[in-house]
Symmetry: C2
Subunit: 142 residues, 2 copies
DNA sequence: CTGCTTGCAAAGCGTTTGCATTGAT
DNA sequence: ATCAATGCAAACGCTTTGCAAGCAG
C-alpha cells in the first residue's frame, strides 16, 4: 500500500538524503491541509508540533516535496502557497462576493476543454485554478 | 471619444493628483505593449524615452493605473507583470510553470459551463479567474 | 505659493544561503 | 565516523517608503 510517507522516504533514499524528525513533522502537517496553504500558515502549524523548526528547514523541505511530486508550488500575490498533489480529487471554487460563502464543484466538461486549450498551445497541463465570483441565492434576496 | 489618457486624467483630477510628464511617459509606454509586461521591461522602455525616471515612480504610477482600472497586476514566479484592462476582450491564462511564459486564451464553451455551474448552485456569476498551469513545448524538450 | 511628485537611498519583506553544530546512518 | 540536516543570522532580490528638492496647479 503506497502512501505519501513511503514515497517521500524512497525519494530521500534514492538521493542519499535523510529521513529526519523535522521532515516527518512537516510532511504530517502538510498532508493534514486541504487546498492551497501559505508557507507562513504551514510554519505556524509546524511550530505547534515542534517550535524549534526553523523557516529555512521548512522552505528546504517543501522544495523536496515539490521535487518528489507530492506537492505543487504556486506564487500568488507575492505569497508562496503549496498544494497536495498525490491522491486528491481536484475541485474548483464558486465564491460569493458578498458573504464569502464558498462552494466546491467539479465539471468534467470544463476540464476537458481546458485540456483542449492546452494541447492547442503545445502545453502539458499540470494543474489549474478556477474561481467563479458571484452572488449567492441568499445574498441576492437582500 | 473616451480614451485611456482622458480616463487617467479624470481619475487623477478626482483625487487631486497631478498629471506629470513622468506619468504621461509611463502611460504611453504601457499602452504600446501587448499582453503581460514585466516591470523591469517597462522600466527599460520608459528609460529610453526619459532616462531620469526612477523605479519608484514607475511602481507608484503603475499602482495608480491599477486603481483606475486601466491596468491589472499579476504576480508569477516572484515577478510582477501588468496587463491592459481597458477596451480589451476578457481572456484567461495558460502559464508555463518553468519559464513563466503566459498565453492568453478564450473558450466560449468553458464560459458557458461556468454559467451553468453557477445557476445550478443559485449563484449570479459576476466574474471569474482561470489559470491553467503547465509546461510549454520548449520547456518540455529540455 | 501650496502641497503633490520626484529621484535617491534606505528600509522592508519574503526567500535563500553560508556556516558551525547536530544528528542519522 | 562520516557527511547530510539543522537553526541561526546574514545575504539576496524585488518592492515600498522617508525625505529633501522640484514642479504642477
Amino acid at each position: 500500500m503506497v502512501n505519501e510517507f513511503d514515497i517521500f522516504k524512497d525519494f530521500l533514499k534514492e538521493r542519499n538524503l535523510r529521513w529526519t524528525p523535522q521532515r516527518k513533522v512537516i510532511l504530517e502537517v502538510f498532508l493534514n491541509q486541504e487546498g492551497h496553504i501559505h508557507i507562513e500558515d504551514l510554519l505556524h502549524r509546524v511550530k505547534i508540533q515542534d517550535p524549534t523548526v526553523g523557516i529555512a528547514t521548512l522552505y528546504r523541505t517543501m522544495k523536496l516535496l515539490v521535487d518528489s511530486s507530492l506537492a505543487d508550488m504556486h506564487t500568488f500575490n507575492e505569497k508562496t502557497t503549496y498544494e497536495r498533489l498525490f491522491q486528491v480529487r481536484h475541485h474548483d471554487h464558486l465564491i460569493c462576493k458578498i458573504c464569502g460563502k464558498m462552494v466546491e464543484f467539479e465539471h468534467p466538461l470544463i476540464e476537458k476543454y481546458q485540456l483542449e486549450v492546452c494541447e492547442r498551445h503545445g502545453f502539458t497541463l499540470k494543474s489549474h485554478r478556477m474561481e467563479l465570483f458571484g452572488i449567492c441565492k441568499e445574498c441576492n434576496k437582500v
